[in-house]
Symmetry: C2
Subunit: 193 residues, 2 copies
């Protein structure tokens, strides 16, 4: 999501700064006053852009999951071979994690701090994303290129991919896309000889 109005640009700047601070010092360890100083906004202005600390955590988490959902929908619509759908979804996720490590770190570490509707919405968005992975797997089974696998495997595949936020460095030996292919090759073909 790239903002265009002055309000949107400022809001995104606040959310990006908050993601960095939360990733470094923890959600509970970061105060609104500290965030205000980091983005050089007073209390009133900060409030206009984001409302509350929990609202920032919600925005950090929800924005990325929403992006991944839109990407999955788009990939599923392309009419690709199901194994290629899985690869594309993995590439998109690892690219996004590499580009937004702070946001993903905050999401995985801190989403438990969300409450009420915000929490429900983020959980629903994550479940929708898992559902798209299951759709791709199911399509492969129907078309005869994938074997039926237990539903929980999707959580394993996402673990494989999500966990990269902890260790992947974009300036390393592989691009996010190459790493996604490495994982998906192992998973699709198996590691038996």
């Amino acid at each position: 999501m790239t903002g265009t109005t002055y309000y949107e640009v400022n809001r995104e700047r606040v959310i990006a700064a908050a993601a960095e601070l939360f990733a470094r010092n923890g959600y509970h360890g970061t105060g609104m006053a500290e965030l205000g100083r980091a983005v050089e906004l007073g209390r009133g202005a900060l409030y206009r852009y984001i409302g509350s600390k929990e609202a920032v955590l919600y925005a950090i988490s929800k924005d990325q999951v929403d992006k991944m959902n839109r990407y999955a929908e788009e990939v599923l619509d392309r009419g690709l071979e199901p194994r290629e759908v899985l690869r594309e979804m993995a590439r998109g996720l690892l690219r996004n994690i590499a580009d937004h490590r702070a946001e993903w770190a905050v999401f995985f570490r801190e989403y438990n701090a969300l409450t009420g509707e915000r929490r429900d919405e983020v959980i629903a968005a994550r479940e929708r994303y898992e559902g798209y992975w299951r759709q791709a797997l199911d399509r492969g089974v129907r078309e005869g290129t994938l074997r039926p696998t237990p539903r929980l495997l999707v959580k394993g595949i996402l673990g494989m991919l999500n966990y990269t936020y902890l260790w992947f460095t974009p300036d390393g030996e592989l691009t996010p896309e190459e790493l996604a292919d490495l994982f998906l090759d192992a998973l699709i073909d198996g590691i038996h000889s």
Copy 2:
């Protein structure tokens, strides 16, 4: 590690309580005074058992990784078929994560807060653990039951397994061991039809 002396029992009680508090409120969001109240120890007594907040975070993280290293060494020594070594290591890890969800949550979320030697030691212990997985994979390649795979695959396998701390509930449909088998079956045999 099960303590036997009064000192050890109390120390473990403090570490377990700290893991729960850090998991709930974050490492940066938990004060020593709060921990003291939770375990009903005054400042001096608390200091005797754990020294500093960072020392507790170190103990929470290091204890579990050390346990997994000892378990991997033991499994590698059993002379099992390499694919069975992988399965056993996966079962041991998921069982431990299911039994110590708070500790693993704190480890994955907060180990970045460790500094100096403590940080180096935890990172070295994790790397040793990854090395054991690579040993098992390499042994399978030598014995002809596994195909050669890129070194980074170990991080993918561990992601698949580690990520369960976020969602696995021990009272769910599967035991940790069954879940480990589900993931390892997919990985070893592949999901192609």
